[in-house]
Symmetry: D3
């Protein structure tokens, strides 16, 4: 049986909520691939290269985690990585319905690949990359939401 899972996302930028899911996933799978979607249509603040690099930095302590960018459908990336499990983090608040919609669409596109949901820690359950970016652009210090090096990069980008 396949012991690998794919955790896809835009990670613009990675938050402590994402990292919490990665740590939990790395404990129950042999290998966790982090797939960084290009997501051009979302007009990310950071380039895909920057997002991959921030993730690599933030996950150095996790031995069985691999970071890679991808284009196209999540299910096709899952097939390329030969994994039949896609992991999605569920925050208590918000994107539940969107996640379900996407998971059901993915299932219809490929019956072999199963989406499983994991819960973030309660103290990260309200974190969103979007809100964090907004907070930084209004002058907030977001060190309790993202790793210090990410907070620094956010400040530089958004004060330009």
């Amino acid at each position: 049986m396949n012991r690998k899972a794919l955790y896809p996302g835009t990670f613009d930028p990675v938050t402590y909520g994402h990292l919490d899911i990665m740590e939990r996933a790395s404990r129950i799978y042999d290998c966790v691939f982090i797939g960084v979607a290009h997501s051009k249509e979302k007009k990310p603040l950071f380039s895909v290269k920057e997002r991959v690099s921030m993730l690599k930095n933030a996950t150095r302590h996790l031995k069985n985690v691999e970071i890679e960018d991808f284009k196209g459908l999540v299910i096709n990336h899952a097939k390329r990585k030969k994994t039949c499990v896609i992991i999605r983090g569920l925050r208590m608040i918000s994107d539940f319905e969107f996640e379900f919609q996407m998971a059901l669409t993915n299932r219809k596109l490929s019956e072999d690949i199963e989406t499983i949901f994991m819960m973030t820690n309660d103290s990260y359950s309200y974190l969103s990359s979007k809100l964090i970016k907004e907070a930084v652009s209004l002058g907030a210090d977001v060190k309790s939401f993202v790793p210090a090096s990410v907070a620094k990069k956010l400040k530089i980008k958004l004060s330009k």
Copy 2:
């Protein structure tokens, strides 16, 4: 008593979820007007002409369904068509609250016109035109979500 109903939408493009509602509505009303909103502010992928034409194609088997585009408020279009019922599809997932908000706003604007909600079939309950367009632009085959001719048109538009 009036036996006509109006089913308004942007239909960019029509999905099997929309068609399911149209079929159900055509069984309980003498005449179902499909009102295709111009919706300029949503920047639709297909022109209103294209959307009307795809709908006409997809509803040829429904004798008591009429397709027409409209500008302005839904309730004014309902009045022009002399119908006092507006039909909205409720998917189990998502736009419930938005639908309610719009229906209550419409009611305040015209007390005579009643909004009724019908449920899509469970297998279409997660379909959304937006997600389908996203999937196509990432390379997905969406023939199980929209009629084949619509899938083809989506592919042409989005691979440009």
Copy 3:
């Protein structure tokens, strides 16, 4: 085409929210049957006879409304009344999901019968028979939630 609709419920007791739906339904259907479910398992406060009688009283101004009790499945009662539409009121708050679950179960049990949802007026959108009974038992005057004669009956029942 069939011009009749069934509005089923326990109506223990009828509230202004229920009456609002009945009035709206009576405007868009030739005949609205109000089906009063026995609902023994819910242990209603009022007997089915009392509930029917309160409803008859409260709907005297609606010419095309008929009150009747029924046992067994809603869809079987709909078939007996030769109607293919079941009406359910959707309050902005609460039983949305339960309503959907029931409607989908009914659809599976009988594909011919369609459930449509109508919205109560915003000022009744939070009313619930359960909350009203609780309020009365704690001493509240509920004349703004139910017809005066029902309020009186509630007081007598609950102060025993």
Copy 4:
């Protein structure tokens, strides 16, 4: 103990829902500061100056309400105004989750400042500035949603 509260928002434009919250707040606080956020990223229809002026007009009957625009984080504006309470209106419908997310983010940024939620009147519970603007641009008369002078300004702006 501090008797002042801050009610922040974009108010683009002020609706009867906002005014309802302001009236309720003015009854339970000595002084209610209305903070009008610049919100450039939301591309408001009205300039911050116009929004402040419409609010001043609409709240002339409330003696203990003060209107002022602000830039930057809400919690920093709260600190400048020496208030430790932020008021947010909760409509039955919609932005509940977003409000929670924002309140929790604010709490993390400043533990001293408490967000409290007040409920709008049920007849305003579905109002949204966004929907109102959309309705006006489609030709609706929105005098039952906003003060007459605001309705007029909306019409002028959106028919340009």
Copy 5:
């Protein structure tokens, strides 16, 4: 202006979530009355006397908090205590809709009394007295959910 607030509940038993709300409320009001509802219809595990005593114990560090039981409607108790503000805790999860329904019912019963909502700390946002009781009856140690003395009393009650 009145500086008192009433925080009503059944508190069967008090949890760290309730205590968090009490501490927050005591910082923004001169006096916080904790109203312990008899709630016979809910068949509480602890007698009203026991619940009052556990609360007194748990709030000894809060100088401006007063515990008292009450019968009947919350709004009548609010009037007796001469407070025009009722506080309710909102957990991110769950009883949002029920709370709204109750608050709107209370508002209709007495327009003078305003319900405000405060948010529990994220680490308590999922706590429920019901789930805690269930967990204890299945053998769980619940010291991270309720004060130690309450945990002990729960164990005694539920292992009988």
Copy 6:
């Protein structure tokens, strides 16, 4: 790394929704333990022995699934079975919040055990054991919701 998972529940009785989750889980885990909770407080219709036997019958085609009843906390049963993953099915409709609450409570009780959520097939997303029992007691044929042998047992139990 541990390849086993526990899928706990009351299964009163097992539905096609439950079976769908079991099949999906059996494809991504080496061994899936089905834990049948005694759940005395829920007053199940079927004895724990009957529920285990119906499950054994319905899962004969799944080689790596084991059925066993358990008393006490789910996390303790997970520890006894030496599994660090608890599986819960998420239906699009309903118990989302309750599931989250339970998962967070379990996490607090034992940090080592992770709860993951899997989605039922869309055609089972509205099934609930409770609704099925209600439908049978009102005379419905539920063969499309549960295996034929379970439907038969339900009919016998509920027509007594």
